[in-house]
């Protein structure tokens, strides 16, 4: 089983496809669960503490806003751990404030810099595109090998 980073990290379709074809999706839910299930000081709603922007310094410089660094403390370790990535380029659902927008840019940059197999796609807009979309993902995931 290969660890596959999915972008958008909250994508239902990508998360399902990766797991369905026998690999491990690295999504934001996994990182959030890790924090939700760790005892410590209460910091609702996501248990993001002042420590997270400090951890984010590993991926973003100190002058980068704390919001981006805090988010990177969730995504950064997953980007380091991933062995492949699937990126959807027209994911309007991942829009947000500047913190989200800049984090998204940084995630895509770090993934493109990393020497791993990557698959770039757009969301399908018709049934035929849906077939091509699913076939491309299946071929990509099969080529990684080690499926469960």
């Amino acid at each position: 089983m290969v660890k596959v980073f999915i972008y958008p990290a909250t994508s239902l379709i990508l998360s399902d496809m990766v797991a369905r074809f026998g690999h491990t999706p690295l999504s934001s839910a996994v990182a959030v669960r890790e924090r939700i299930q760790t005892p410590g000081l209460e910091s609702p709603p996501l248990q993001i503490t002042p420590e997270e922007p400090k951890k984010g310094l590993k991926w973003a410089a100190v002058e980068v806003p704390a919001g981006v660094r805090g988010r990177m403390s969730l995504y950064g370790p997953m980007i380091e751990a991933c062995e492949a990535a699937i990126i959807i380029n027209d994911a309007d659902l991942s829009f947000g404030c500047m913190g989200c927008a800049r984090t998204n840019e940084l995630i895509k940059f770090l993934l493109r810099e990393k020497d791993i197999p990557k698959l770039d796609l757009n969301y399908p807009k018709s049934e035929e595109e849906g077939v091509r979309f699913v076939a491309a993902i299946k071929k990509f995931l099969d080529s990684l090998g080690g499926a469960k």
Partner: protein, 152 residues
């Protein structure tokens, strides 16, 4: 500051999302309750939220997925079901994250169709999708529509 003690530590939570003409979330919930064996199941408007030890949750999901494999989708969730920090019963309005699912639900019928088709067709004969990183020219039909909208 208050000390935080997590509930349901060591468990996983998964969404089961139904996009089917044949199965409803209620049908799936009944089937899931039959085989739950201690796993927590919550029925929602779009499917189920299942919480429990990972192996048990996977077992339940594998079983209920058999009902309509190409129209049932599964996704991880960080929070347990009904968590006050996320549940819309406490917050009001749509749950954070619901809008993402709502957006992808408009695309899922194409994906379901794709999953059905790849079983019937030879995978190597299906052409790859357009590369989004390649700049593409403006579609002539789209240009025509733009011009017409300006003229009218």
């Amino acid at each position: 500051m208050t000390r935080y003690t997590p509930v349901y530590a060591g468990t996983v939570t998964r969404y089961v999302i139904v996009e089917s003409f044949e199965i409803t979330p209620a049908d799936l919930a009944v089937r899931a309750y039959e085989i739950a064996n201690g796993v927590m199941i919550k029925e929602t408007c779009f499917g189920l939220v299942i919480n429990g030890p990972e192996t048990d949750v996977d077992r339940v999901i594998a079983e209920i997925r058999k009902a309509d494999p190409d129209h049932i989708f599964v996704k991880d969730r960080g929070f347990p079901p009904g968590d006050a920090r996320r549940c819309r019963a406490n917050l009001g309005g749509a749950r954070p994250g619901y809008h993402g699912i709502e957006y992808e639900m408009t695309i899922i019928p194409y994906v379901s169709h794709g999953l059905e088709e790849i079983k019937k067709r030879d995978l190597s004969s299906i052409p790859p999708p357009d590369d989004p990183l390649q700049p593409h020219a403006l579609d002539i039909e789209k240009l025509k529509k733009l011009m017409e909208s300006q003229e009218s």
